[in-house]
Amino acid sequence: MSVPSTHSSAEGTLVAEAESDDERLVARAQDGDRDAFNELAERHSSMLRRLLFRITKDCEAAWDAVQEALLSSWRNIGRFEGRSKFSTWLTRIGINEAYRGMRKGQMELLELDDSVGERVPDWGNRPDDVFESREFLAAVSAGLDELSSDYRAAVVARDVDGLSTREAAEALGIGERALKSRLHRGRMALRAELDGYFEEGYAG
């Protein structure tokens, strides 16, 4: 499955400039320039907070995870080798912090809802723009919030943030097989949630 491009060529130029600014700031931060790191933090913290809120579902916990991630990335900036973008590296640290905070005293069972034999609801032959509408995306977002934290963390890391299987597994501190299992169960649970949205399309 291909992901549609999210940037026009003009936006692409801006993104490329932002990335090269990041590289310059990272180089200065690695030389101990705290102001440069603060600028990096300012550039990325609000996006990171919004992403981590999707995992924690709690403003304060998301903010705590951002703070921990920034502290950790400042301490470890010397080890950042630039093999990924700074924002990807910071996001991985942030997801790890958010997930770690959320897992304290909590264990959830992972069950796959096996409805083999039941008719799978038909979402109908709707045009593509239905699946790009704000209403549909709001339903996806609301369904995501309903997932258990283990599923949600895996789905956010892979599908919303776009980390690779290996990167997402590392961020959550689990193996790739466990990550793929949680991702699949999370996607399937969300798909089941969205059946309600298309209920009228049911052709029983």
């Binding site: 499955m1 992901v3 549609p4 491009s5 999210t6 940037h7 936006e11 801006l14 993104v15 932002a18 990335e19 990041d22 550039r43 990325h44 996006m47 990171l48 919004r50 992403l51 809120f53 999707r54 973008k85 924002s87 990807t88 996001t91 796959l112 096996d114 083999v116 034999g117 008719r119 799978v120 609801p121 038909d122 979402w123 699946f131 790009e132 704000r134 549909f136 995306l137 709001a138 339903a139 996806v140 977002s141 995501l144 789905v155 956010v156 599908d159 919303v160 943030d161 776009g162 299987t165 793929k180 991702l183 699949h184 996607r187 399937m188 969300l190 798909r191 969205l194 059946d195």
Partner: protein
């Protein structure tokens, strides 16, 4: 593998559904992909599930967009 055709069909459905995400992500090995595609050609129920799952994953990818009202996307990331 059961010899009962109904049980066998259910097993095929379960096996295919377990692999739908890997199928969408292009992470099945050739034998698994061929088996999944064969099943999906004649099992309309599993084919619908794949289509619905694909739409779901497409929606999640779109939450990445900076211009999405629900988006969490970082403009530095594509």
């Amino acid at each position: 593998m059961s010899l009962n055709p109904m049980t066998r069909r259910r097993e095929r459905c379960s096996e295919t559904r377990e692999r739908l995400s890997d199928h969408l992500d292009g992470q099945l090995d050739p034998d698994q992909r061929e088996a999944a595609e064969r099943h999906l050609r004649w099992c309309s129920n599993c084919a619908r599930m794949l289509q619905n799952l694909s739409r779901t994953v497409g929606g999640l990818h779109r939450l990445r967009r900076p211009d999405s009202s629900e988006g969490t996307a970082d403009p530095d990331r594509s």
